[in-house]
Amino acid sequence: MSFDFSKAMEWAYKDMLTFFPENVSTFGGELDSLFAMIYYASVAIFFITYAILIAFIIMYRHQEGRKAYYYHGNNLMEFTWTLLPTFLFAGIGLWSDDAWTKSKYAYRVPNPDVTIDVLGYQSGFGWQFRYPGPDGVFGNKVRNQISSANPFGIDSNDVHGKDDLVIISPGGARPVEVHLPINKNVLVNLSSNDVLHSFFLPNFRVKQDAVPGQWIKVWFNGTKAGRYEIACAELCGSGHYNMRGLLIMDSQQDYDAWLDQQYKLVKPELSAPVSDSTAVAAVASDSTTTKN
């Protein structure tokens, strides 16, 4: 047992805002500055109220022979300290709404450049990812074909599903690893087949519960290449802590190279003849959006 004292005391000498992990998404900065705004307002309120509290405790401490002021209060004061916080808090609420709608409202989700499906799962604890495959089109999802071998319930009759790339945890302690391109709008269709999970990308300020029976759209746009961690933020069982994944943000080139390699690795027979399936793809090109 070692004890790093200066690290342990960080809370005492480091500003709260410095604890944020680096932000690498487009809207993350906006969320962080909202946090900072509330933080500064809170610090001000904290110091003012504590100063008053401590001053009163000292000034009005018990003294023999002194009598307290007989006073029941004052309506003007009540109105003042009702209205002031109302304006402050209402301001925070209105200010917050834009960032909220931008990050979560369906109509504000930008046109995706890349779409993937993500499932949290409990038997073994981890994440499963689906890429549309060389044809660029996801196979339809059908609920009654969901099984542990086909967690996404890819329709066996849909030709677009044949080349879909599914990435699951390698097993053991190794986290699942996926790649996505930077400076692109990424749309994640999120769900689960067992219990609730929560798809948490700390560096991207993304968090969304995965709910079985429901596909929820999550989007982000990463601004910096690198290796980032994926976490689960909703209690999903005893292995909840163990749902770590890795998200590698690549330039478009590196990303394409990685995808090619994955296709070869997982489905060698599908890697080359992309053109064969493009005709079919055109027919159903709207099926990138999910059907369930």
Binding site: F56, V206, N242
Partner: protein
């Protein structure tokens, strides 16, 4: 025993306290075990809840040990615990999840609510409104006697092969219903304790409305009584919803309904052969079989029902404390409570708004984000009455003559911590800010600032304040102050740093944070927190020691040791069954401290005005602020 209705009818005119204070020759069991005396029941709530406080505290320290030193054997007890809980003396992931679930559940449902509502509601209401007992004493007795079996049922889960409940104190489906018998005991236990709450609450309302002493207007009741009255309304409106939700989850678990369970679930808890829509395990192979009945349920429905109760429940936990703190502060500042009516209206506003903010727990749950906007705005509105209360408390001590008794130190600490808890609430109330901090240690910090720093410090304050009336003995003040300083300092050292962990992204309910690279840097801070938490936990023994020591050696309490104004201090130092030995009439509000026309700095509610003081009293009535 007198019938309850007889009590209710003589509301404003009972003058017969004296007789049933003496002539009952009751058996030991009737007197101390199955008693209908509200004061005995209050003590029973206190003992049971203090027991659970130590149980819940032990769970917390086991959790903390794992976070500080993952995988290392728990000191002293690690090697004597059974294999199902520990491996090599260290908590297993499975046991950890059970611990965090039961820590939250025990603390909320078996410590804070029974102390704040059960204990103080029982002790304070009849005494502070100047009556002999509750309107329905027997119902009152039942409401206590549901607590021990309910608590024990839940704890039995630890002795099942599959363990105790492990779906968090929020019990979210599908995890909840798809786990084993531990979850069932959890559900049954909550159902029973909810029933106990409802019985208590109806009783409080009936008592306050019907049994006030002669002359006591509603707007002359102390804040503690007002707060408990409104809390009782919250309980009766909210708890049935929880009961319904629990019944639905039980039905999902055993009757193959699917209120909360969508179809085609691949859930795989080890012993869920009871479940139809589940995996059945056979050796190492998971055999899947489809849900036979139903399907198509909605996991989020549970969250709506649960939080529709549980958000008001956070006010069930804090409002009595706010009442206690108001009374204690006024008494020890020797000043009228600032803005008496504003304080009452603020409580009413909190109670009303409390029913329309539940969705702030669900911003990231997958509910329609449009609702997120709505709940964000309502939540922000509810912060306003909380702020009003803070300002009025500050107004109360302004130009006072403050005595720093243990009771008052705890009340002042309540203000200090509630400021921080309220401010952290505003961060989370902003839905976009909540995206990042939801389900991190920021939330854990918030919870503990309002529930430990807030509710529990207020409860401590109330214990120090009313102990003399409860047991006829004074608590030792110097031990009381020691308990306070240790608790207050180590409370802050334990929970303040958690805000920063949350900002660092540290998830809550995590068995081993250090498998994440970005959290490895926080192990030293977690160790610091754990050490502070251990000291905080052990500081509570000072309170227990103080109680035991004072019961035996404490100074005999006078009738009105704090020179306070409210009616409980008119009762004998150690009141018997029936409470008062004089006929109580009320002449004024409870906060007439330091009246300029009086020699003494207090003016009890029951003291008859002398001659021309009567007119002074009339004008004073009007000067109460609105």
């Amino acid at each position: 025993m007198q019938s309850a209705t007889a009590h209710a009818h003589e509301t404003h005119g009972h003058d017969s306290h004296g007789d049933h204070a003496h002539h009952h020759d009751v058996s030991f069991i009737r007197k101390y075990v199955f008693s209908t005396d509200h004061k005995v029941i209050a003590k029973q709530f206190m003992l049971a809840s203090l027991f659970f406080l130590f149980v819940g505290g032990l769970f917390a320290l086991l959790i903390r040990w794992q976070l500080a030193f993952p995988g290392e054997a728990i000191p002293l007890i690690g090697n004597i615990l059974p294999d199902t809980w520990v491996s090599d003396g260290a908590v297993t992931a499975n046991f950890y999840t059970q611990l965090l679930t039961l820590h939250g559940t025990v603390m909320i449902f078996y410590v804070i609510i029974p102390l704040a509502v059960g204990m103080f509601g029982n002790f304070c209401i009849p005494l502070m409104i100047g009556t002999d007992d509750m309107a329905l004493p027997r119902l009152n007795m039942y409401s206590f006697w549901l607590v021990p079996p309910a608590g024990l049922i839940m704890l039995t889960g630890f002795f099942f092969d599959s363990g105790a409940a492990a779906a968090g104190w929020t019990g979210y489906p599908p995890l909840g219903p798809s786990s084993g018998a531990g979850q069932t005991t959890w559900l049954i236990s909550l159902f029973l304790i909810g029933f106990s709450s409802i019985m208590g609450a109806t009783n409080y309302m009936a008592t306050i409305l019907n049994k006030r002493a002669k002359g006591l207007q509603m707007f002359q009741m102390p804040l503690t009584v007002w707060a408990l009255f409104i809390t009782a309304i919250l309980i009766t409106l909210g708890t049935p919803v929880l009961a319904a939700a629990i019944s639905m989850q039980l039905a999902d678990q055993y009757l193959h309904t699917s209120f909360f369970m969508p179809d085609n679930l691949l859930v795989g808890a080890p012993d869920n052969s009871l479940l139809t829509g589940a995996f059945v395990q056979k050796g190492n192979e998971l055999l899947e079989h489809k849900q036979l009945l139903g399907g198509g349920g909605q996991p989020i429905l549970w969250q709506h029902l649960f939080w529709f109760y549980s958000h008001p429940a956070v006010y069930i936990m804090i409002l009595p404390g706010m009442g206690i703190v108001s009374d204690v502060l006024a008494t020890f500042a020797r000043k009228p409570l600032y803005g008496y009516k504003a304080m009452i209206f603020a409580i009413m506003a909190i109670a009303f708004l409390g029913f329309i903010v539940w969705g702030h727990h669900m911003f990231q749950s997958g509910m329609n984000p449009l609702l997120g906007t709505t709940f964000m705005l309502s939540t922000i509105v509810i912060a306003v009455p909380s702020a009003i209360k803070i300002f009025n408390w500050l107004g109360t001590i302004w130009r006072g003559n403050i005595r720093f008794t243990a009771a008052n130190l705890n009340a002042l600490a309540f203000i200090a911590t509630f400021i921080i808890g309220g401010l952290s609430g505003v961060f989370m109330a902003s839905a976009p800010v909540d995206i990042y901090i939801h389900d991190t240690y920021f939330i854990v910090a918030h919870i503990h600032y309002v529930l430990f720093g807030g509710a529990l410090f207020a409860i401590f304050s109330g214990i120090y304040y009313w102990f003399p009336k409860m047991y006829g003995k004074m608590l030792n003040e110097s031990l009381g102050r020691k308990h306070f300083y240790w608790s207050f300092i180590f409370f802050n050292l334990t929970f303040y740093p958690m805000h920063l962990l949350g900002v660092g992204g540290h998830m809550r309910r995590i068995y081993n944070p250090y498998i994440y690279e970005f959290l490895q840097q926080y192990q030293p801070m977690n160790q610091f927190i754990t050490i502070a938490a251990i000291i905080l936990g052990f500081s509570q023994f000072i309170l227990i020691f103080n109680i035991l020591w004072s019961l035996k050696y404490g100074k005999k309490a006078p009738r009105n040791p704090w020179q306070a104004n409210s009616l409980e201090w008119a009762a004998p130092a150690h009141p018997g069954h029936g409470n008062f030995d004089t006929d109580i009439r009320v002449y004024r509000g409870p906060y007439e401290f330091s009246h300029p026309d009086r020699e003494t700095d207090f003016y009890p509610q029951w003291e008859e005005p002398q001659g021309d003081e009567k007119t002074v009293h009339e004008t004073k009535e009007h000067s109460h602020s609105a």
